[in-house]
Subunit: 340 residues, 2 copies
Amino acid sequence: MSSPRSKVLIVGLGGVGVLAAYALEYNKKAEVTALIRSDYDRVIEKGYEINSVDYGHIEGFRPTHVVKTIEDAKKYGEFDFILVTTKNIPDIHVVEDAFADAVSDKTTIVLLQNGFGIEKATFERFPGHIVLSGVSMISSANFHGVVEHVGTDSLGIGYFDNGVSSKEEQQAKTKQFIELYENDAIDCHIDEDVKFSRWRKLVYNASFNTIGALVDLDVGRIQEAGGTDTLIKPTMREIFRVAASDGVTLDESLMDTMIHSDDGNWYAPSMLVDVRKGNQIELEIILGNVLEIAKQNNVEVPILSVLYNLLHLVQFRLKEQNGLINLPEERPLKKQKTSD
Amino acid sequence: MSSPRSKVLIVGLGGVGVLAAYALEYNKKAEVTALIRSDYDRVIEKGYEINSVDYGHIEGFRPTHVVKTIEDAKKYGEFDFILVTTKNIPDIHVVEDAFADAVSDKTTIVLLQNGFGIEKATFERFPGHIVLSGVSMISSANFHGVVEHVGTDSLGIGYFDNGVSSKEEQQAKTKQFIELYENDAIDCHIDEDVKFSRWRKLVYNASFNTIGALVDLDVGRIQEAGGTDTLIKPTMREIFRVAASDGVTLDESLMDTMIHSDDGNWYAPSMLVDVRKGNQIELEIILGNVLEIAKQNNVEVPILSVLYNLLHLVQFRLKEQNGLINLPEERPLKKQKTSD
């Protein structure tokens, strides 16, 4: 007799989320409830079309349950895992709000999201819960229900130590999730050192991602334009120093690895894609949290600070474009605050 | 008997250039030859339409001579003054090439252009010539022969010391040019300290101009978004320090003056306008030359350096947009140079 399927709620059905849903249902060990908003009607009617380097062409894929609200989702709980694959933009909206109502005592939360320090808000909101980290290498995007997937799914899963549960218990949940997710077509492995992995990925994201978004150039063009030596490497070195202050040693050779990771492609990193689409950017979890650590540990990060402050202005521009800020047509004539 | 008119060649008929032509012909003391390219046929046929805060509505204004090539211009020489009002982008084209053939021994060159250190190339190319500096406060733009002019013309004229001519001789030329230019409607005054004026203007241009261009926000929005304290003032302070190393003391109160100079307007500075139009930016003469002085004098300018390096990438993007750089559709798979 097979054990009952684990119940997984997925929040955020972008490219990563749809492929996670597919992987989790592939083994028939998990029963996925997908919480989606904008695409709901289309997905109910037609399902997803997936063109995948790992799975081939799939039409009409529907997770076991497709729901529009967290109230509807709760009907299919209690959830063993809640997998969060949304963008993480705490200055715009609180990601925990989207799924808080469906968290029960037994729920493990899996943050399959970009960035650094993202577990902090989760632990504050759900103290004592086990929270897993998913660091994903996958090139996939969901365009109105059609998912293009061109880079094989490689997912590292580990746990952010919650300081309450035993190591063994947290490890067990990590392994349980990997068992649900892994199959022959893809790679899902244990991430033994979540902190290291997140710092490692940040070496790329805090440099190419941020600079590309500011100057509207992909990784290849930044390099063609001479940006590798003038900006990318000096920015990476600042990340190395903050990581070291946080107890994580990154090897110098990592710079070259990152610099060559998109060789052969004019690759546009996610923040650049967001800016080009007019979406808000994941600024706080890519730079803001790092700057806080740098400040706490007295590490000088002049370049990261300028990049952050500039991108903060870009975020303001995007907010206005998205109607979150409304300015009068004529600029008010007032004494501006110039406080120092 | 009136003295014969002074001969003035104007190179670059944007908003500033057309209004300079108009001012110079207004007193009937100067005979203007205008060297233009793209608008030539239209100007020959219809002249300029000018909507001016200083002069009112003018239709069909034509400078005395309108020419398309420097060879044609030479027919109306020798020139007492060559007034250069083009953009100054030495990394894209050499501005001196446009008028070098029309410079004779008696010619005084007037650089009515943005930026810092712009006289260096002129002195190298035309050693011993008197070179005047024009620092203009004017809000005007030429859209295909229609010139909108909304801020009254205020022009400071001084001389860049050429190290050859006497002070008196250089002062005399300065006064001569002002006499040609000034009239009741506008303000044209002696600039007693060209170096000071150029540093002063740079406090604005090196901060609002560059940051606005990078984040695609006008001056008002930069301030609404909190950029005054995070970026504008720290950038201005770096300019203050480089100026001090160059012997120029700028008063702290200048920061506030500059910050409030566009109060009441959502003002887009020139570099932002250039980026929005897809034009190349005046990067070298606004930041590049300042960085050289900072380097010579061992002044640390971390923010200016990052802004420069980022805008260098923006310049690359604009070059590609303008067809000056052609990249293959597929990124070549080669070992990138990563030299340090």
